[in-house]
């Protein structure tokens, strides 16, 4: 392995590693704009220049590859390359490049959405001049829509070309290009081919400055008001890793989080903007019991008692309806409790899309179908006819998205039921048909594990706090057991689940971490 000396650090790196990669991996800060690990190297911003021993001019570290050299060409006897990233020459060059970048850049940080998470702002503070030496008129252009959700502020653009490379290389749709030439260059899309692909939102993420903006977030909040939690997208069975940015009880935006085993660096717009559908719902926050067609609030104890009464002696006549939207833990708990039959509503399917880069949007638009089947192997194929055959009279339903799948057949079945229990977070059509509603958590409030269609178990973390008296869904089901048979907490539950289903044994949140783990026994390590 080549031996690289970078500033005072001596490190062995893989053959063909770039100086920039080596530096970033080892905590050395080299500023850059055009480089992005998922995109082709163009080396055009010139910000990552470093001094390489034996080379007459400064080199862009993003395109300087470290390789083993023959003994006679080793530097100082044993190094394959010696690099300076912080000396006067390099710092001066950064100042020069920043000066050029800022010539036409507006001083509008106070109203710019990128402020606070802007590399141009950060490095200007670090390396830039306090005063501009530019005495001429700035180039000023009006904002433009590049697509229905993406707007560009040309004045802030530093033409790093990440966005154009993204649409060429990742989405393969090539909507964005650089129009005009030289000083007049600008990012553009053709009028009849706007940036409306399902990965469009990513260009706002990869834009290193505040030029590309998502209309969904623009001027909504400032980054320093927001808190961040890492979680997993729940809008298809791929399970893209995300960071959710929220303030108090409201999510403001979702950004993709790197996971090379799942989504790379990106996410699709279905997931990105999906959180909005959980806003402004009529939430259920207390157990509700229907008598004479009117719901009234009851206590948890009363609710549990009522369920006990209905189940008692008729366990075989109870059907449980699982949900591929719920966590492994919740589905496991329901599957384990129901002695009659368990099944699930028809799946939500849509178009499967695979992009040239390999990025995938699954046709299965639920996050945990795989996990649900893993931890409830006795799911029946045709729930509707089984219910009729076995004369089921009580049904316990995990409601989540399934509301939209209720068709005529199901309406008929529901009207025949003596007692319908729906565990829900909102007053859906299905919930309204229930006799008893148990308030669970909404998707961004839940914690547990979900398994994607590739068999990767991931830690779904709660982002928002509970509402009212609502409880975690697994905990509600836990209450149905007698006191001595309950799990003391979710960790105990996961242990119990692992005992019954060995591919899930040894699983803890700590082990899953923020990248998840594949099934097939690897969880035990």
């Amino acid at each position: 392995m080549p031996l690289l000396k970078i500033d005072d650090l001596e490190i062995e790196v893989k053959n063909g590693t770039t100086v920039l990669e080596a530096a970033l991996e080892n905590g050395i800060d080299i500023p850059y704009y055009c480089y992005h690990p998922a995109l082709e190297i163009v080396g055009s911003c010139r910000m990552c220049l470093v001094q390489v021993e034996g080379m007459p001019k400064l080199q862009v570290s993003c395109n300087t590859f470290v390789g083993e050299v023959p003994p006679e060409r080793k530097v100082d006897g044993n190094f394959d390359m010696v690099v300076q990233t912080q000396n006067d020459l390099v710092i001066q060059e950064r100042k020069n490049i920043l000066e050029f970048l800022l010539l036409n850049h507006p001083l509008d940080c106070p109203v710019c959405d990128q402020a606070g998470e802007c590399y141009l702002q950060d490095y200007s503070f670090k390396f830039g001049n306090a005063h501009s030496r530019f005495d001429e008129d700035k180039r000023v252009r009006p904002n433009e829509y590049l697509g229905s959700q993406i707007v560009i502020n040309h004045n802030r653009c530093i033409l790093c070309s990440r966005c154009t490379r993204f649409t060429r290389e990742i989405s393969g749709t090539s909507e964005l290009f650089v129009d005009e030439r030289g000083y007049s260059s600008k990012i553009a899309a053709l009028e009849d081919r706007p940036l409306n692909n399902l990965l469009a939102g990513n260009v706002a993420d990869i834009c290193p400055v505040g030029a590309l903006l998502s209309t969904d977030y623009v001027h909504k909040n400032r980054i320093w008001n927001l808190q961040k939690k890492s979680s997993v997208c729940q809008d298809c069975s791929v399970g893209c890793n995300i960071d959710a940015f929220y303030q108090k009880r409201k999510i403001f935006r979702l950004n993709p989080r790197e996971n090379q085993d799942v989504n790379g660096y990106f996410m699709c717009d279905i997931g990105r903007y999906g959180f909005h559908r959980f806003e402004d719902l009529e939430r259920v926050t207390r157990p509700l019991f229907k008598s004479n067609g009117i719901f009234s609030e009851i206590s948890w104890d009363t609710a549990i008692e009522k369920i006990g009464d209905k189940f008692n002696g008729a366990e075989e006549k109870v059907a449980g309806v699982l949900s591929p939207f719920h966590t492994n833990e919740t589905n496991f708990m329901l599957g384990r409790f129901i002695k009659g039959i368990i099944g699930t509503f028809p799946h939500i399917e849509d178009e499967e899309i695979t992009y040239p880069s390999g990025f995938r949007i699954s046709s299965d638009r639920s996050p945990n179908k795989r996990g649900m089947h893993d931890v409830c192997p006795s799911i029946v194929d045709d729930l509707a006819s089984e219910i009729n055959d076995k004369e089921i009279r009580v049904i316990y339903i995990l409601d989540n998205e399934i509301d939209k799948e209720i068709d005529e057949t199901w309406n008929k079945i529901l009207t025949k039921m003596d007692f319908i229990i729906v565990q829900a977070y909102a007053m859906t059509r299905l919930a309204k048909s229930a006799h008893l509603i148990l308030p669970g958590l909404a998707p961004f409030e839940r914690e547990g594990t979900i398994t994607n269609d590739q068999g990767r178990v991931q830690w779904l973390r709660s982002v928002l706090p509970n509402n009212g008296e609502s409880r975690p869904d697994w905990e509600i089901l836990n209450l149905l057991y007698k006191t001595g048979e309950r799990f003391s907490d979710i960790n105990e539950l996961m242990k119990g689940m692992g005992e019954q289903f060995p591919s899930y044994s040894g699983m803890t949140f700590f082990k899953l971490g923020d990248q998840g783990l594949p099934l097939n026994g690897n969880l035990k390590t």
Binding site: I41, V42, G43, S44, C45, R46, M47, L49, P56, K57, L58, V60, N63, F65, E93, N96, I97, E99, F100, L101, L103, N104, R133, F134, D135, E136, D137, R139, I158, L159, S161, F177, V178, E180, R181, G182, Y183, S184, S185
Partner: protein, 432 residues
């Protein structure tokens, strides 16, 4: 008076010199016959020994460039004839294409054979429409005579030549910008490494050679490397086409041996300056080269080494002469404007810096200059092109040499004619 007998332009004044019958009548395609009987490596060796250096601007050894093409690669190799002649003050390739297109084509076939290439391109400047039409006829003649196509002249060597017209961008004359453009993309130069010899057109090994470079090849094959080396300067030998324009009595293309004195070129071949005005400054190698003062110009030999010693370069050998009536500040603005217009806009220093130079120079010319502007001009040009330190090689800061191409001439104007810049600024102060 002139012992040197032109090599490349010997026949250009004769009737029908562009046709195949004429070219054959003066020994055309004899070199090709000879080459087809040689091993490709032997051709590369011969060209290496001739020390032929590229005529496009950079002056890199042609044989060495060919030598970089990997021999063990099973990818197709490509030769591209760079006929995108766009350097201000340069018009030699156009002459060669107009008058002796077969000479250039023979050179292309020889080069293609040497690097084992079966598809070659002529990337011709879009504005050269007449030449494009002529070259199409030239190719048709060559295919007809089995000089191109399958089994050339009875050998087992095949070559197709395709003409591609540029769309009017200066930067597409830079070899990687040219390759991008040929691939149908935006003419943005590529970052190196990899160099085109390893990954060029469609990621395959590619050689890009200038028209004049290629035109030299038949002569090297016919007369040998030693003959070629005996012409002109030792470190960069051979005949060279010098384009002289500007304030001279007899502008035009003059074929002379490398190392002819600039004085002879201007005052003898180009007939001196009209109305006996004084010489003020000269671009020795196109507008990308640093300008020479009259004093420097009268004391320089036109070869690679001597011009580098004068902190300029031979470049494309486009000599632009300026007499005493030329306003150097306006001329500088004119040059800066050209480069700002032609900058591809990819690299930060070049995109932003060229426009800054134009804005500042425009302000100075409009009588709104400030005393600090002179220092700023030095600093901006240094920040675009890097400080010119010839002891360490160029100090470019951009992907392609365009940054230097704007920084060097502009800086040389300010450095050598600072007084004129100052007087523009002082006028302002006087008025104020």
């Amino acid at each position: 008076m002139n012992a040197f007998k032109p090599v490349l332009t010997e026949h250009i004044h004769q009737k029908d010199c562009h046709t195949l019958p004429f070219y054959k009548s003066v020994g055309g395609y004899k070199a090709l016959e000879k080459v087809l009987a040689m091993q490709p490596d032997a051709v590369i060796q011969e060209v290496k020994e001739s020390n032929l250096r590229g005529r496009g601007g950079a002056g890199f050894s042609t044989g060495v460039k060919w030598g970089f093409i990997p021999k063990d690669s099973d990818q197709p190799k490509y030769l591209i004839n760079n006929a995108d002649e766009s350097e201000p003050g340069t018009f030699k390739d156009r002459l060669l294409m107009n008058k002796t297109p077969h000479q250039m084509l023979e050179g292309m076939i020889i080069a293609s054979y040497a690097i084992n290439c079966n598809t070659a391109f002529i990337y011709i400047r879009g504005e050269f429409y007449k030449e494009y039409q002529l070259l199409k006829k030239t190719l048709a003649e060559a295919y007809q005579a089995n000089l191109l196509g399958q089994g050339i002249l009875g050998s087992d060597y095949n070559l197709e030549v395709v003409i591609h017209r540029g769309a009017g961008a200066y930067i597409c004359g830079e070899e990687t910008g040219l390759i991008e453009s040929l691939e149908g993309k935006r003419g943005w130069p590529r970052i190196k490494p990899p160099f085109p010899a390893i990954e060029g057109y469609l990621h395959c090994p590619t050689v890009v050679n200038n028209v004049e470079t290629l035109a030299c090849l038949p002569h090297i094959i016919n007369h040998g490397a030693d003959w070629f080396k005996s012409i002109g300067s030792e470190k960069g030998p051979g005949p060279r086409l010098f384009c002289v324009s500007g304030t001279v009595n007899n502008p035009g293309v003059f074929e002379e041996p490398m190392g002819i004195s600039l004085k002879e070129l201007i005052f003898d071949r180009a007939g001196g300056i009209p109305e006996n005005k004084q010489l003020k400054a000269v671009f020795p190698g196109g507008s990308s080269s640093a300008i020479l003062t009259a004093e420097e110009a009268l004391d320089v030999k036109m070869d690679f080494e001597d011009l580098v010693e004068k902190k300029s370069m031979l470049g494309s050998a486009g000599v632009i002469v300026m007499d005493e009536t030329v306003d150097m500040v306006q001329a500088c603005l004119n040059i800066a404007r050209f480069y700002a217009h032609e900058s591809c806009g990819q690299c930060t220093p070049c995109r932003e810096g060229t426009a800054w130079l134009v804005k500042m120079l425009t302000r100075i010319v409009n009588g709104q200059g400030k005393p600090d502007d002179i220092d700023m001009l030095y600093e901006i040009t240094d920040n675009i092109g890097g400080r010119i330190d010839f002891s360490k090689g160029s100090f470019g800061k951009t992907i392609c040499p365009f940054g230097e191409a704007v920084a060097w001439p502009v800086r040389s104007f300010v450095e050598k004619f600072e007084n004129e810049f100052r007087s523009y600024i002082q006028q302002v102060e006087a008025v104020a």
